[in-house]
């Protein structure tokens, strides 16, 4: 299958932002599974008082659109509050990348899910209720 990625996708794939880990992260979340060919792991550093995400890192196993979605999603939540980060949708990520091929839309869903899982981890560590999240199937 020919791969027709936007320039933005290729840019974030070739030069991904925020790659790495955060030791003592306030929230860590993982989504996907190796069977389907993609896993995303997101690390958050959150300011306790302002609730602002001061740092975010990711590690991703997956195709170009998975890596680009992780990179873009982490850029989009950096400097935002945890509530703003929760409200980030997969379609906003895909839009910011100038679109993903239809068959790769699940990569942006994965990014949303990894962020939600990391935010829930943060919530749990801070005595807040965990918000149920829908896990995507593939």
């Amino acid at each position: 299958m020919a791969l027709d990625y936007s320039q933005k996708v290729m840019d974030h794939f070739m030069n991904p932002r925020n790659v790495g880990e955060i030791s003592n992260a306030d929230g860590v979340g993982e989504a996907g599974n190796p069977k389907c060919g993609d896993i995303m792991k997101i690390y958050l550093k959150v300011n306790d008082e302002t609730k602002i995400i001061e740092d975010v890192k990711f590690k991703t196993f997956g195709c170009a659109s998975a890596i680009a979605s992780s990179s873009m999603a982490t850029e989009m939540i950096k400097g935002k509050t945890v509530q703003e980060a929760w409200d980030l949708t997969n379609s906003a990520v895909a839009e910011a990348l100038d679109g993903l091929p239809p068959i790769k839309m699940h990569c942006s869903v994965l990014a949303e899910e990894a962020i939600h899982t990391a935010l829930n981890d943060y919530r749990a560590k801070h005595g807040m209720d965990v918000i149920p999240i829908e896990h995507h199937e593939d």
Partner: protein, 397 residues
């Protein structure tokens, strides 16, 4: 993107060679007569087709009357399976035996025959190197078996099947034997008589002839229903006005191929082995998929790299000017990883992390060295950003 063009996907397709192109050129505008026409002008077209038929037949030790031109390897496979099963149905033969690692031209045809016509299909397993056990073929044959179809060599992992032995068993059991030799015919010396082959599919564009031309060898005396219905071309067995220039190209390509095959394959298999040993030495936890040495197609390298995904590597390679292929789901429309790699017993994540390099006439030794220079960096960089690699290292620590 760099201007560099390191083409390592000869199994996907090959360029038309200049000699083949030259042989074809007169058959577009100069000699264009319909071979079926009566007037003398068309004799030249007929003669060109019969010359090509001879060239193809000679390459496989077949008789010219046993070669039928088709539009592709896929059509040849469809014809062999559907035509044989439809023909033998009235004799109560309703069973097809094939393998789990066939090309989709065979697998999807077999699924169709089962779903639409109710024929029974047995899909034989393969061992961890992708080999069909001939004894499994023997055991699968029953009194309803019409046809055994096992590919000569696998397009993804390059494993060459024990064709002669399988052919022998089929002869002994009086069951027809077809082989999809689309890849093998471009790289191996094949003698259909010696190997007990009843039907064999080949394709032009894998052997420096154009796309859109193929052939089916049908041993003398074997009957099968037609697949293409219409005019009386190809001894009334395959309708449609002949692809004159394509047929000329296929004949020429086969003749050239045979004259240089031994030299080409000696060189290419040594580069194949250089790449395989280079990858295994330079990239930690790299795994070779498929068989080794003379049981592997001379041009095929297929490796898995735990922790990374194939499409990612393909794009990184593309950026460095290298064209390759992967068995990862992420590069397929279905999102399923390669059925071949799964049949070899690979875990999904290893199938996702596979790359295939296939060498050919465009390959130079500089390409080989260049690949071995850039691939280890690419794999290492992507592994560094992979949580799966991190987990793998921890579990192996």
């Amino acid at each position: 993107m760099q201007e560099k063009f390191v083409y390592m996907d000869h199994t996907a397709t090959t360029p038309v060679s200049p000699e083949v192109m030259k042989a074809m050129m007169p058959y577009f505008s100069e000699v264009f007569g319909n071979p079926s026409s009566v007037y003398s002008y068309s004799k030249k077209s007929r003669a060109a087709i019969e010359k090509a038929r001879m060239q193809v037949a000679n390459a496989f030790n077949a008789a010219p009357a046993e070669i039928f031109f088709t539009s592709s390897g896929t059509e040849s496979d469809n014809w062999a399976l559907k035509g044989t099963l439809e023909n033998l149905k009235s004799k109560g033969k309703t069973h097809l035996i094939t393998s789990k690692i066939e090309h989709h031209a065979i697998l999807h045809t077999a699924e169709y025959l089962h779903k639409i016509h109710g024929f029974d299909v047995t899909y034989l397993p393969v061992d961890s190197e992708g080999r069909v056990n001939p004894e499994d073929v023997r055991n699968a044959i029953n009194d309803k078996t019409a046809l055994v179809s096992i590919m000569f060599a696998n397009n993804e992992v390059g494993t060459i099947q024990p064709i002669k032995k399988i052919g022998e068993i089929c002869r002994e059991k009086k069951v027809l034997f077809h082989t999809d030799a689309v890849q093998a015919a471009a790289q191996l010396n094949i003698d259909v008589k010696d190997l007990n082959i009843d039907m064999m599919s080949i394709s032009g564009h894998k052997m420096y002839a154009p796309k859109g031309i193929g052939a089916l060898y049908i041993r003398k005396g074997i009957r099968l229903e037609n697949f293409m219905h219409g005019g009386g071309q190809e001894s009334a067995r395959r309708a449609s006005t002949e692809n004159l220039a394509g047929i000329v190209g296929l004949g020429e390509a086969m003749e050239i191929l045979k004259t240089r095959l031994d030299d080409d394959m000696r060189r290419i298999s040594s580069w194949r082995d250089e790449i395989i040993s280079g990858i295994l030495a330079k990239i930690p936890y790299a795994k070779l998929n498929g068989a080794t040495g003379s049981e592997r197609l001379p041009n095929n390298i297929n490796c898995s790299f735990i922790g990374v995904e194939g499409e990612t590597l393909l794009l990184d390679l593309d950026y460095r000017g290298i064209s390759a292929s992967t068995g990862s789901a992420c590069s397929s429309a279905s999102l399923d990883p390669s059925h071949v790699l799964l049949a070899l017993g690979l875990k999904h994540e290893m199938a996702h992390g596979s790359l295939r390099f296939t060498l050919g006439r465009l390959t130079t030794h500089d390409h080989v060295k260049y690949l071995l220079e850039v691939l280890p960096e690419i794999v290492a960089r992507r592994r560094e950003m992979s949580p799966l690699w991190e987990d793998f290292l921890k579990s192996n620590a």
